[in-house]
């Protein structure tokens, strides 16, 4: 078997931080990545070493690419949206302009684009909206209608920069606490919107629970669903087998690597229910 060309254009570079700004609870960071930028497609991610030289954190952290700019004033650059959550992301968010980080990219699959015009809906939870804006632009340029639905637990956790909003035909917000947009979980709002907007393809990115709920809705409506999943990754390049999700494989289940066969995957293939997986594994 000739392996499918795994991470064909991935390279490892020392990338300079060229901007680091707070954006609500997130950090919007820009890195100079040179020629790497040209090879990036919406949905790809990068893996960054964290903690510095004496670090006790030995694994890279994965971050979805929010935007890639091929030929900017600083050469190629990428932009990330980072939630300072645990030790690694907090370290990264505290990098100053001019610092360098060890970065590998682009990694993983990218969003598939409909071959004909289609009504698309892009659903993002929290910082999960980040990779959707580049996708929106691409879809719009291909003549698709792009509706965006962004949700979070509370208003300021919705990542929706002004320039991003401009590309979409409609933007709906939801918050669990009702502090902005529709009150409730993002998945509650979606069925009505699909009906109203005539959605034919759903793209989603966010917490696994949200993706599972959308997968169910997509199935009920029998529409295509591409989701970008987020599993703990030790290597990001396909060698460790830690990042798997279960997909249907005949009667059984197959564990596929989300860093190589993902993060963008066909939502209908994934088995979202843990119990179903365990049962299938015992066949």
């Amino acid at each position: 078997m000739i392996p499918h060309k795994i991470n064909r254009s991935a390279t490892q570079i020392m990338a300079e931080v060229i901007s680091n700004k707070k954006f609500g609870p997130y950090h919007h960071m820009v890195f100079a990545v040179g020629e790497m930028a040209a090879n990036i497609k919406p949905g790809n991610f990068v893996a960054i070493s964290v903690g510095g030289e004496q670090s006790s954190l030995i694994l890279r952290r994965a971050f979805a690419i929010y935007r890639a700019i091929d030929k900017g004033p600083m050469g190629g650059s990428i932009e990330l949206v980072i939630a300072p959550h645990g030790q690694g992301s907090t370290w990264l968010c505290s990098r100053a302009v001019g610092d360098f980080v060890d970065l590998i990219g682009p990694l993983g699959t990218s969003f598939g684009i409909p071959t004909t015009n289609a009504n698309t809906m892009l659903v993002g939870g929290g910082y999960g909206s980040a990779p959707l804006f580049a996708l929106a632009e691409l879809l719009k340029n291909r003549g698709c209608r792009v509706d965006m639905v962004l949700g979070a637990s509370t208003a300021n956790k919705i990542f929706a920069p002004l320039e991003g909003k401009r590309t979409v035909s409609s933007l709906t917000l939801t918050t669990d606490d009702g502090s902005a947009g529709i009150h409730g979980q993002i998945s509650e709002a979606i069925p009505r919107l699909i009906r109203e907007l005539g959605t034919e393809v759903i793209y989603s990115c966010g917490p696994m629970g949200m993706l599972a709920a959308i997968a169910k809705i997509a199935k009920d409506f029998d529409i295509a669903h591409q989701c970008s999943v987020e599993e703990s990754m030790a290597c990001g390049i396909g060698v460790c087998m830690t990042c798997v999700v279960p997909i249907r494989n005949g009667d059984g289940v197959k564990m596929v690597r989300t860093c190589i066969d993902g993060p963008v995957m066909d939502g209908s293939e994934i088995i979202w229910d843990r119990k179903e997986v365990l049962d299938a594994m015992n066949i």
Binding site: I58, G238, C240, M281
Partner: protein, 311 residues
């Protein structure tokens, strides 16, 4: 400019340099070949393969720990047939040196795997991962007892024929690793691989449950290096003539040198490749430089040097 003979031997086989991948940390090589030619390494040690395809464990399968990580993959893999059909030919095509790691749930399974490997060309050695639960014996790991370890090795030896060097990979989770080493050496192995992961566990203090779906997992990375050095030193002290493939937390040339001085004839790089796909190559270059700095012309003179010191 000094020159260094960087080659090493295990049993009858010669390797151009002593830096290998560690089983389970490089899959079957394809992914790393994106970053460097596999021929740059002494050998690719493949992920432990079993007779049948295995799904492996549920996620979460990993947890980062201070200077280390836990994994519980559960030996996910395609099974020996698909492996021999796809992975080996590809590796041979790359001209990579290949050490095949095998794992079984019973003594018989190891025998079956060895028989399948017997006629395969392009393999330089077989590494026998005996840190697997023995389903015939309350799930106790083979490597925990001399008798079960020996039973596996004898089954491999009987079935593999006289050609391939056999490397037994031991677990550090035993009272006396020298005793286990002694037993498998008597059973006829050509080399030892030290060490496999340590059994560990992480509890998620938010969910207040074990973090890994499989509850316990294997601890690897720099955190365990002092345990690896100790195990290699003890075993090399007892059996100075048996080649040891050393591993456990090697992440730079200094670390590799430490294991070599303790007694390793080759070094497998595992977890370090997760943090840096170029790790094995960097380690190889750094180790060669460190050896030259210290006046070694032949890598093999450095093996176990800490036991002898400067005469």
């Amino acid at each position: 400019m000094s020159t260094l003979d960087f080659s090493t031997k295990i049993g009858s086989k010669r390797f151009s340099n002593p830096i290998f991948t560690a089983s389970g940390c490089a899959s079957s090589g394809q992914e790393l070949s994106q970053f460097f030619p596999l021929t740059d390494l002494g050998a690719i040690v493949t992920k432990s393969i079993m007779t049948k395809a295995r799904t492996g464990r549920m996620t979460p399968r990993m947890a980062e720990t201070p200077s280390g990580m836990l994994n519980s993959i559960g030996l996910q893999g395609p099974g020996i047939d698909a492996f021999l059909e796809n992975d080996i030919p590809w590796l041979v095509e790359q001209k990579a040196k290949v050490i095949v790691s095998i794992a079984g749930e019973s003594v018989d399974e190891y025998g079956v795997l060895s028989r399948r490997l017997r006629a395969v060309s392009g393999i330089s050695a077989v590494e026998v991962n005996i840190s697997c639960p023995n389903v015939e014996n309350r799930g106790q790991v083979f490597a925990c007892h001399p008798d079960t370890s020996v039973a596996v090795i004898e089954s491999v030896r009987r079935n593999i024929g006289g050609e391939l060097p056999i490397i037994a990979k031991l677990s550090p989770d035993v009272t006396d690793i020298v005793e286990i080493a002694h037993a498998v050496i008597n059973a006829g192995v050509d080399g030892l691989a030290l060490i496999n992961t340590l059994l560990g566990m992480v509890i998620d203090t938010t969910t207040m449950r074990p973090k890994l779906a499989g509850k316990t997992g294997g601890l690897s990375g720099p955190a365990i290096r002092p345990v690896a050095v100790r195990a290699i030193y003890q075993v090399h002290q007892a059996f100075p003539n048996i080649p040891i493939v050393g591993m456990g937390g090697v992440s730079n040339g200094r670390d590799a040198l430490e294991l070599v001085l303790a007694g390793a004839s080759a070094i497998s790089v595992g977890t370090a490749s997760f943090g840096n796909p170029m790790a094995a190559i960097n380690i190889k270059n750094q180790l060669s430089e460190l050896l030259i700095q210290r006046g070694f012309n032949d890598f093999r003179d450095a093996i176990g040097f800490a036991h002898r010191g400067v005469q």
